[in-house]
Amino acid sequence: MAAQAESPGGIEFSNVTKRFVSPTGAVMTAIRDVNLSVKPGEFCAVVGPTGCGKSTTLTLAAGLDRPSAGTVRVSGKPVEGITKGASFVFQTDALLPWKSVLANVALGATFRGLPKKQAYDMARSWLTTVGLSGFEHHYPHQLSGGMRKRVALAAALMNEPTLLLMDEPFSALDVQTRAIMSNELLAMWDKLKPTVLFVTHDLEEAIALADKVAVITAGPGTIKAIFEVDLPRPRGAVQEIRFERRFLELYQQIWEALREEVSRAYSRITAPGAGAAA
């Protein structure tokens, strides 16, 4: 297993804790003693209640932030600085509104110093892959939410990442668009096989997409349980797989684990005093 984690894209969290300290000295522990390992090419979903530090795991894996304790390894090496070979897809789009769609997709290549023409040619072919040829010279605000998400996906995949970090990428989309995007994500993952760490609060989405689902406890988050999703691949349309027996069994199992955390997080929000006592 150690050997696997060393090939490109594998993630290894060992006893990772992240605390945020405000200038006034207030300490907020986002995640505590997280242990999680994702094999190269594996699709791992992370589910948990609101505010449990799901996104923190992504920023740590991306190298945007350092753990307060423990180590995060990507491709076998401890994360220092921005993780090489990682791409990030945000919940709200991070497309630059002042750049055309084409320039946005080519951004990573431009930063790496590729000649402009080459970068743009590559970007153009990726736009075709996500079904957006003809929209190269539009600005992001001229596209619909689903189209912007495709652009973000093209921009993320053009770097040929070994590690794809996704922070509730489809949560802002309407249900139909979301289903379409999920299918396309699976198709592209199948082709490129990057390791995926996919944060979501939607359990259905997690099971339909992932090889394994990690459930995080109400904050400070720690891994409560990890479930292998043994549904066969290719999965086909995510809209249909959720009616299969095995899917429902898994759903029930994981929901059992998740429900407690969700209600704990909820009671903490609605009645802070009671939550602290529990």
Partner: protein, 298 residues
């Protein structure tokens, strides 16, 4: 263009509207044209009314033309300047000198303002260190610096450019600083993950994002640059519209003061128009705002 681009469905919708669309559009355009013509006519009438009243009242002696001038007097003073020149050479020279000072001061102030604003916005340590000093200097009535600059740099171009630049600098600086501070953190995080160096982040993310704020300040800054140039000329100079006004004031030539004011007004309005063109170009990526899409009203 936007409507077409934003959704392919839009095109289908327009096609479905089909037969009604063309006459409706023509009607709407005709209405808009008519309204515009009406507004223009009313504006012209207002100007004629005010100038006419002024002229008549000064002719019959209700207001004293010696102190208040008269529209025809102003026009003849302008014509006189244009033909015979002012006391300090041709009128065009005076206008050119003032424009030169204002434009140079504007450019220097904008460049320095943006550079300092972005630097301090990007480096919080520097911002914390310099904040009290900048606030102190900003609280000063900066017009009085004009006297110092004229003592230092003499009666020529440099002292006016300096004064205009100082006025411009602070407005642009504060906006650039605020703009940099309010950059979307996601944009920066994304760029860093995509492999951007710090300078690349500044160039591709921070500055374009702050540009909205900077551009907003440029309108005010342009006015201040002209004020700086004119006040500088007031305080001491050899050429320029400010000097022309100062001379007219000293000789109780009300028509002369108004005539110079008129020229400055025309300059300011043209500069503002040029600024709008620049703004449209630099901010072409912005979605049309609510005020642009409103059809009626101001």
């Amino acid at each position: 263009m936007n409507a077409e681009a934003s959704a392919p469905a839009g095109k289908a919708g327009a096609a479905a509207a089909g037969s009604d669309a063309a006459p409706l559009a023509a009607l709407a355009r005709a209405q808009a044209r008519r309204r515009k013509a009406q507004v223009r006519a009313a504006q012209a009438a207002t100007v004629v009314f005010i100038l006419g009243t002024w002229e008549i009242l000064s002719r019959v002696g209700v207001i004293d033309p010696f102190f208040f001038g008269s529209p025809l007097g102003i026009v003849s003073r302008l014509a006189d300047w244009a033909v015979h020149g002012t006391a300090y050479g041709s009128l065009w020279l005076q206008i050119w000198v003032t424009i030169e000072e204002a434009v140079l001061g504007f450019l220097v102030g904008v460049v320095l303002g943006v550079a300092c604003g972005v630097t301090l916005g990007e480096v919080p340590f520097l911002a914390d260190v310099f904040a009290p000093f900048i606030k102190a200097v900003n609280a000063l009535p900066r017009i009085v610096l004009g006297s110092i600059f004229i003592m230092w740099l003499g009666l020529g171009l440099a002292s006016k450019v300096m004064l205009a630049a100082v006025l411009v600098f602070f407005v642009v600086f504060f906006n650039a600083f605020q703009g940099v501070r309010s950059v979307d953190r996601n944009f920066v995080a994304n760029a860093r993950i995509l492999g951007a160096t710090r300078l690349q982040v500044v160039r591709h993310v921070v500055i374009p994002s702050a540009m909205t704020w900077i551009i907003a300040s440029l309108h005010v800054a342009l006015g201040l640059a002209i004020i700086g140039a004119i006040v500088g000329e007031f305080l001491g100079s050899q050429y320029g519209l400010g000097l022309v006004i100062a001379t007219a004031q000293n000789t109780f030539d009300a028509n002369g003061v108004f005539a110079a004011m008129l020229i400055i007004g025309v300059l300011a309005v043209s500069a503002e128009a040029a600024m709008e063109v620049l703004e449209k170009r630099l901010l072409a990526w912005r979605p049309p705002s609510a005020s642009d899409t409103n059809v009626k009203g101001i």
